[in-house]
C-alpha cells in the first residue's frame, strides 16, 4: 500500500513537471507524459529504496517554505555582488565562505531540508548525518531559510 502511494506521488509529480515544461497540453502529450512518468516513478522508487533515504519529520516546513523565496532573492543578490566585486577588486574569497555544519531543529527531515537549502544559490548540502548537515556556503551570513530549518530566531 505504502509503495503504491509512493509510486502515485512520484508519477503525479513527474507528470506535473512534464506538463509545466511543454507549451500546449493535448491528449497525446498527456498520454506520452503519463507513460514516461510511470517509468520514471518506478525508477524513482527503486533509487530511493536503494539509497535508504526517508523524508524524515515535517517540523518547520511552513516557516521554511515561507523563508525560501526570500532567501532565494537575497542569495541571488549576494551572488551578483560577489561576482561584481571579483571583477574589480582583489580576487580573494568572501569572508566566512566554505564548509559549515548546520544542526536541524528536532523533527525536521534532513532530506527535504537539504534539498531546499541546496536549491538556493547561497548553500549546498554535501552531507547529512543524524540531523546535522554539512553545508558549503557562499559567505558567512546566515540566510532566513537556514534560521527556519534550525529553529533559530526569526
Amino acid at each position: 500500500m505504502r509503495t503504491a502511494v509512493e509510486l502515485l506521488l512520484w508519477w503525479g509529480l513527474l507528470l506535473l513537471l512534464s506538463m509545466v515544461l511543454i507549451s500546449s497540453v493535448s491528449v497525446l502529450e498527456v498520454a506520452v507524459g503519463g507513460g514516461i512518468a510511470a517509468i520514471g516513478a518506478l525508477g524513482a522508487v527503486a533509487a530511493r529504496r536503494a539509497s535508504g533515504a526517508a523524508l524524515g519529520g515535517a517540523a518547520g516546513w511552513a516557516r521554511a517554505l515561507w523563508a525560501f523565496p526570500v532567501t532565494l532573492l537575497a542569495d541571488t543578490g549576494r551572488l551578483a555582488v560577489l561576482v561584481l566585486r571579483t571583477l574589480r577588486g582583489p580576487r580573494r574569497p568572501p569572508e566566512g565562505g566554505g564548509f559549515r555544519t548546520v544542526r536541524l531543529a528536532p523533527g525536521t527531515g534532513a532530506a527535504w531540508a537539504g534539498a531546499l537549502l541546496s536549491a538556493t544559490p547561497g548553500g549546498y548540502v554535501v552531507e547529512a548525518r543524524d540531523g546535522v548537515l554539512t553545508v558549503h556556503t557562499l559567505d558567512g551570513s546566515v540566510p532566513a531559510l537556514q534560521r527556519a530549518l534550525t529553529g533559530g530566531p526569526r
Binding site: 507549451s23 580576487r91 544559490p121 554535501v126
Partner: protein
C-alpha cells in the same frame, strides 16, 4: 523594439557581461559563482524575450534552463568539494 526586449538587452549586457570575464579568468570557486549567476540571468533574459516576441512557446526554454542550470552548478560544486579540507 518594445520594453520587454529592451529590458532583455539591458539584462543580457549588464548581467551576463560581468559573468563572462569572471567565468573565464577567476579561480574555480569564483567561476562556479559566475556560472550560477549567469544561469539565473540567462533564464530571466529568455523569459523577457518570450514576452517581448509574444511567443509563449519560447518560455519553455527559459523554464527548462531554470531547472537544469542549478543542477549543473551543484555538480560543479560537488567536484570542488574535494579541494577544501573539511
Amino acid at each position: 523594439m518594445n520594453a520587454w526586449l529592451l529590458a532583455a538587452a539591458v539584462l543580457a549586457v549588464g548581467g551576463l557581461g560581468p559573468c563572462l570575464p569572471v567565468g573565464l579568468r577567476g579561480s574555480p570557486e569564483q567561476r562556479v559563482a559566475a556560472l550560477d549567476l549567469a544561469g539565473t540571468i540567462a533564464s530571466a533574459v529568455l523569459l523577457l524575450l518570450a514576452q517581448g516576441f509574444s511567443r509563449t512557446s519560447y518560455t519553455d526554454l527559459a523554464v527548462d534552463l531554470a531547472v537544469l542550470a542549478p543542477a549543473g552548478t551543484l555538480v560543479f560544486t560537488r567536484l570542488l568539494a574535494g579541494r577544501e579540507p573539511r
